[in-house]
């Protein structure tokens, strides 16, 4: 082939970004499709990463920007893969580009439009702990740095009134005439990196999520403790914005849980909750942090040592026992956690002002549709099924379609990144194979 070999990467999280840049850096043409207005994925929502306690967005942002600026990568943000035809070596793909109603070429991302936009709506990127406007930038480090108008909420698009943003924008970037457009691309292989979602915690009435304000999930905690989050990084509990005295972390909420349909372990909770507990101590050394666990799963490189440090240097308290129930004191909004300390074999109760649930990680909500479009199989949990979990962990059930990161099952960032690079190798192999007549050069008579 004389023209550049090309690859479609689906999902703009850290895995998708890694796969894209690895391929682009060696001269491949990469199309990176991300359904949200910005790339970055889950990692962009985290405050810090374990076990190095790096600032998550700080180490991710450079990769996001490299990826976006790369001459060989076309980032198709706010887009969805609609159809796939063909086979390994030559897939034809239709991608729907949703209208932002903002001209990406003109928008400077100054945000004045958002300041003046009269329509306030919940900000799901902040897990609805903060608001945003109908015209918004998903988050401060968003890439690309382009505003997006929410068509369900924009007063003009719904009621035909307002247009304040349009009048205000000096760059003349607002364009209500934008329509959804379908772009067609041809690629040799496809890499899926759609990441994960979280199980609905209201399935566990005993823990009172949704009923008790001060029971939150870990991703909400990440935003809560993050400087660019809804509280500006101040550790306060939702009910009264007061500093908690005790923060409790409950692991395995829906993980290793047959009833919840999730036999598997979510892999990352033990470590990120240790990290979160350390963050509590860093923000407020006098606040107690308690972690309820069943088996402490700290097996990745440096992580056992990390837990040891959490206990030794930060005084994080670990209790082996999965709480039975959590009840709220209606006056103080503080919570009583009932549990059996299985090591002292006593039923005890702990008063906590903030409870963080580590809920099971599950495939993204729209995985089924995507699988149908790609024609690949899913496993019983809805993760992308790999050709062989032992020796082909990166292949899906369709040749030329590869998957990496969380979408094939729970994985931490470094495993996801290693796998992402791995799928880049796979994609490169495909392009070589189809550049040549024979599938694999084989030594004659060797």
């Amino acid at each position: 082939m004389d023209e550049k070999p090309s690859v479609l990467v689906i999902g703009g999280g850290v895995a998708g970004i890694q796969a894209s840049t690895d391929l682009a850096n060696r001269g491949f043409q990469v199309y990176l499709a991300e359904k949200l207005p910005s790339i970055g994925g889950r990692m962009a929502q985290f405050d810090k990463t374990y076990p190095t306690l790096d600032c998550s967005i700080c180490i991710l942002a450079p990769k996001m920007i490299d990826c976006f600026r790369h001459p060989n990568i076309k980032v198709l943000a706010y887009s969805e893969v609609k159809s796939v035809s063909g086979s390994a070596g030559n897939f034809t793909i239709e991608i729907l580009r949703k209208p932002r109603f903002v001209d990406a070429a003109r928008c400077t991302g100054c945000g004045q439009c958002a300041e003046k936009c009269p329509k306030k709506i919940p900000n799901e990127w902040e897990l609805n702990m903060a608001g945003k406007k109908a015209i918004y930038m998903p988050f401060p480090q968003a890439v690309p740095r382009v505003m997006t108008i929410d068509p369900e909420n924009c007063l003009y698009l719904t009621k035909g009134i307002c247009r304040v943003c349009e009048k205000l924008c000096q760059a003349k970037a607002i364009d209500f005439s934008q329509k959804p457009e379908t772009v067609q691309i041809k690629v040799g292989s496809i890499i899926v990196a759609t990441g994960f979602d979280m199980i609905d915690p209201s399935k566990f009435p005993e823990y009172g999520y949704g009923k008790y304000k001060n029971v939150i999930v870990s991703l909400e905690f990440e935003r809560l403790i993050c400087a660019s989050g809804p509280t500006g990084g101040h550790l306060v509990r939702p009910s009264d914005h007061q500093k908690p005295k005790t923060v409790a972390f409950v692991l395995c909420v829906g993980s290793r849980d047959v009833k919840a349909g999730r036999v598997y372990c979510s892999n990352v909770c033990c470590l990120y909750s240790a990290k979160d507990a350390i963050l509590v101590k860093e923000h407020e050394p006098d606040v107690d942090a308690v972690i309820f666990y069943t088996d402490l799963r700290a097996y990745s490189k440096g992580s056992r040592e990390f837990i040891d440090r959490a206990i030794r240097d930060y005084g994080i308290k670990y209790i082996r026992g999965r709480p039975g129930e959590i009840r709220e004191d209606h006056e103080t909004k503080s919570l009583t956690i009932w549990y059996e300390n299985t090591l002292s074999r006593k039923v005890e109760k702990l008063q906590a002002d903030l409870v963080v649930l580590s809920v099971a990680c599950v495939p993204r909500g729209d995985t089924k549709e995507l699988a149908k479009v790609l024609g690949v199989e899913l496993d019983e949990y809805g993760f992308f099924k790999v050709a062989d979990p032992l020796y082909a962990p990166l292949d899906t059930t369709v040749r030329g379609v590869f998957a990496c990161g969380f979408c094939t099952g729970p994985k931490d960032i470094s495993d996801s990144v290693a796998q992402a690079s791995g799928t880049a190798a796979k994609a490169a192999e495909v392009s070589m194979m189809y550049a040549r007549a024979v599938p694999r050069a084989v030594k004659k008579g060797g």
């Binding site: 490299d66 490189k301 020796y391 192999e429």
Partner: protein, 574 residues
């Protein structure tokens, strides 16, 4: 020899016009260091024409503010005070270049890792230190000069060290990507750890059946040269141009010129001498020894088997978790139970590591089949003793608060992966670091798991730390992809930090030539007499020559004496 190719150079205004950008890094810096004060302070420094602050300078927004300030204030030097150049310098340099400021006119001050994060309880002093560091960087910036980089050609072949499943996978992938590979294995036969295993999880496929196809691919590929019973004796050179000396067990040496190196040397397994009576009591064996008899079928049906996990790991001298032992024990327990349903199998554990998508199911099935799991605590480990010809394992189960005495005719110890003995030596041959646990250390735990910090050298599999087969395979493909990048491009740009010799000052004494570890600087006869001259491509810019030159005739580009001394001066100029 490499032919040099130059990148265009942005012309510099004579008078420095410096812009300083101080980063809050959310609260990472701003929460401790008084950023506005630092900005105010920076404004007053000589040649600083602009100073500003950002919540996250590394965000698109932050970079945009740098670019617009450069245009608006016509800056020709940029200083960012934020985090480590090891992670962020490339990003900021690119931003500068994009608006015509040569990347060597940029400097990065680390007021996070070296200041706010290490002085969290002394905000005033941290702020003071941040000011000093900014002042030092500005002083250096005043003397920064634009530089040209030279392109280095890359030899399009790789060397994979280690012929286990990771090494072979990486080799095959690289070959399939069109590169020649030399696969070096110290043992006489390929296969590594898998040669010693029986069945593998997940899937319970036999290790042999897993190994065969890939070994076949290695042997059939015309692009892969396999060298067994061979060690890596020495490695010279740098990315794209490594000169390798291999040595066979027969002592025969061979030379090799390759572009990239993959380390897949695997791990060893701890021999638990003195642990739980291993070596003293008959019937106390390791999981590896159990696999061996399960494989050969030389196991006579046991009445009762007790497996003890974390034998030699998660203890002060070896604090890490070996990751795979729990699942390996579970796997062997399943095999035993399937073969001998009425054999009692006990697994004594601390925390069961049945993580991720597949493993909890195995753990569950093992419980279903009647394998009994008993927890023990670090400070109260099981005690193994001989009771006639039978073994007795006494363990305190904290979950019911009772001591249990188990009879056993086999006690199987799960011992951790440990670094290969040759790791230390190889790390010195390759000039790459080891982690505290003795395994090879990647460039970044999260984002560069299969790279070394050194360009052109990569790692995968258990050489990096405990990992099972799927993980090793995933990493192997990953390392192959990373190694393929420079080889596919055919060239990389070499940092312009090499020495420039002032012909008029050089007296041709040859001290530099004697000290240079790469033979990159040589004294040659010129029209002006004996003078030192530099072989750009071979030089890695360590600066040893610059420090040694008695005549100050050598200027280390981008690390000039002038720049460094200005920095030193400034450190105390308040």
């Amino acid at each position: 020899m490499q032919q040099a190719e130059t990148v265009k150079k942005a012309e510099i205004a004579e008078k420095p016009r410096i812009g300083v950008f101080v980063c809050h890094c959310g609260t990472n810096i701003g929460g401790i260091v008084n950023v506005p004060e630092v900005v105010k302070y920076a404004k007053a420094l000589p040649d600083v024409v602009y100073a500003g602050e950002n919540l996250y300078t590394c965000s698109e927004e932050g970079l945009a503010s740098i670019k617009s300030a450069i245009k608006e204030h016509n800056l020709n030097r940029v200083v960012v005070a934020s985090c480590s150049p090891r992670t962020h310098e490339p990003l900021f340099r690119a931003a500068c270049e994009s608006v015509g400021v040569n990347k060597y006119l940029f400097d990065l001050v680390n007021i996070r890792d070296h200041c706010s994060w290490v002085h969290m309880h002394e905000p005033e002093k941290a702020t003071e230190k941040a000011m000093d560091l900014v002042r030092m960087a500005v002083a250096r910036a005043r003397h920064l000069e634009a530089q040209e980089e030279t392109a280095v050609q890359i030899t399009k072949s790789a060397m994979v060290i280690g012929g286990g499943v990771a090494g072979m996978t990486a080799a095959v992938s690289l070959a399939d990507q069109g590169f020649d590979v030399t696969l070096v294995e110290k043992e006489p036969k390929l296969g590594g750890m898998l040669n010693h295993l029986h069945l593998l999880y997940p899937g319970m496929k036999s290790a042999g059946d897993t190994l065969e196809p890939i070994r076949g691919m290695v042997e059939d590929s015309p692009r892969i040269r396999v060298m067994t019973s061979t060690d890596v004796k020495s490695v010279k050179g740098f990315v794209g141009n490594f000169d390798v000396t291999l040595q066979g067990k027969d002592g025969k040496e061979s030379q090799l010129k390759i572009g990239t190196i993959l380390v897949a040397t695997g791990a060893a397994v701890l021999a638990p001498k003195g642990l739980y009576g291993y070596g003293e009591l008959k019937g106390v064996i390791t999981q590896l020894e159990l696999e061996d008899v399960l494989k050969s079928g030389n196991l006579k049906k046991p009445k009762s088997v007790v497996m003890i996990l974390c034998a030699g790991s998660r203890i002060p001298e070896r604090p890490y978790c070996s990751r795979i032992c729990c699942m390996n024990a579970i796997k062997n327990a399943l095999i035993l139970k399937e073969r001998y349903p009425d054999t009692d199998v006990y697994i004594l554990y601390r925390d069961i590591q049945a993580y991720g998508r597949n493993y909890e199911e195995y753990y569950r099935r093992t419980r279903e089949m009647g394998v009994t799991f008993i927890m023990f605590l670090k400070d109260d480990p099981p005690v193994v003793s001989a009771d006639g010809k039978e073994l007795k394992v006494s363990v305190n189960d904290p979950l019911i608060g009772e001591r249990l005495d188990l009879k056993a005719d086999l006690v199987v110890l799960s011992t951790p992966f440990i670094p290969q003995e040759m790791s230390k030596g190889l790390s010195q041959v390759l000039r790459v670091p080891l982690s505290p646990d003795g395994f090879f250390m990647e460039a970044h735990a999260k984002l560069r798991p299969v790279d070394f910090a050194t360009e052109g050298i990569f790692l995968c599999g258990t050489a990096r730390g405990p990992a099972d087969v799927p993980e090793s395979v995933g990493q192997a493909f990953g390392a192959a992809a990373r190694a393929a990048i420079p080889m596919a491009l055919g060239k990389v740009m070499a940092e312009a930090i090499t020495p420039a010799v002032d012909i008029d000052l050089c007296i041709g004494c040859g001290l530099c030539e004697r000290l240079c570890p790469y033979g990159a600087i040589k004294v040659e006869q010129t029209s002006k007499g004996k003078k030192a001259s530099v072989a750009e491509a071979a030089c890695k810019g360590c600066g040893v020559c610059g420090a040694a030159c008695p005549e100050q005739a050598i200027t280390m580009r981008h690390f000039t004496n002038k720049q460094i001394l200005a920095q030193v001066e400034a450190a105390f100029a308040r």
